[in-house]
């Protein structure tokens, strides 16, 4: 069984956060916080120091790539797993080149989520 991770979920969709929380908790991880936008994400990251952040690319007030950049500026060691329905080739390439620890396409399945978390926390 994988070691328990402390996870911060960043997604502006309450149902998506609900599903993701359910999957993470069923896998034995702890969801330490949820955020809907960049200010909440940065404040929660600073306060909670999660092992991993799951980040959607499509947020209401800003795009997830700018949130990724801001998180990495706050902490270059931050592990951010992009979880998004937008898995276009150029978007994935850019996100990974910008320091994302991995990319998981929606709809999420528990097995794929577990594998993505394992890869994201390997280093």
């Amino acid at each position: 069984m994988a070691a328990q991770l402390r996870v911060l979920i960043v997604d502006d969709s309450p149902p998506m956060r609900f599903i993701l929380r359910g999957y993470l908790e069923q896998a034995g991880h702890a969801v330490v916080g949820e955020a809907e936008d960049q200010p909440q994400a940065l404040a929660s990251f600073r306060e909670l120091r999660p092992d991993v952040v799951t980040l959607d690319l499509s947020l209401v007030n800003e795009d997830g790539l700018s949130v990724l950049k801001a998180l990495r500026e706050q902490d270059p060691a931050a592990r951010v797993l992009i979880v998004s329905a937008n898995s276009q080739k150029k978007v994935v390439e850019f996100a990974l080149a910008s320091g994302a620890a991995g990319f998981l396409g929606k709809p999420i399945e528990p097995v794929a989520l577990a594998a993505a978390l394992a890869r994201a926390t390997q280093s």
């Binding site: 502006d12 969709s13 149902p15 599903i19 999957y23 499509s58 929606k106």
Partner: protein, 196 residues
Amino acid sequence: MISEEAGKALLRLVENGVSESAERLATLSGTAWQTQTVSIREVSADKLLDAGAGPDHEQHGSYFAMPGGVFLVMFPKTNSARLVEAFASKAKSKPEMSEFWVQNTLAEIANVIVHAVANTLADACGDVFFLSAPSNSVGKRQNLVRDAPNRFERSGKAFVLMAYVCMQSEDLSSDCSFVLMLSAQRRDKLLKALES
């Protein structure tokens, strides 16, 4: 105007994306979905015709805009409850089925399936289609479709390329339709990329 050959190429591309959408819907809902209709035509934005046949029931609509285009996904109000329940059933606990929850769940489902088509189109032409977060509205199908051209910026001739898709699940007694509209400029860029 789009040539017959270009129209066929675009239709095939949209069909590929729709096939992926149906698979995503199946994953989200735990049941199979069949594609009923996929069609493409060019219309003048100021004389937009009704997209598709069928009763004009009230719909939960979600708009996803991008420069030069918009996607509109619609679920009938009357038969979308089971789809919402199927989506939530994967989690440990059951959420309260408020109107807020139903609308936001359908918006998230719409986000996932619409990106299947957007991703296919974008990758085919080496472009990026960065869609907005969903903007939700409830109304009759005709009114939602007629409002779609107002949801994205267009310049020049007000012609739109419109793709209409309808999918259905017998098990859930649910259906889903969506409309893609592109400005003339976005259409030309897409067709040019397909030709090269």
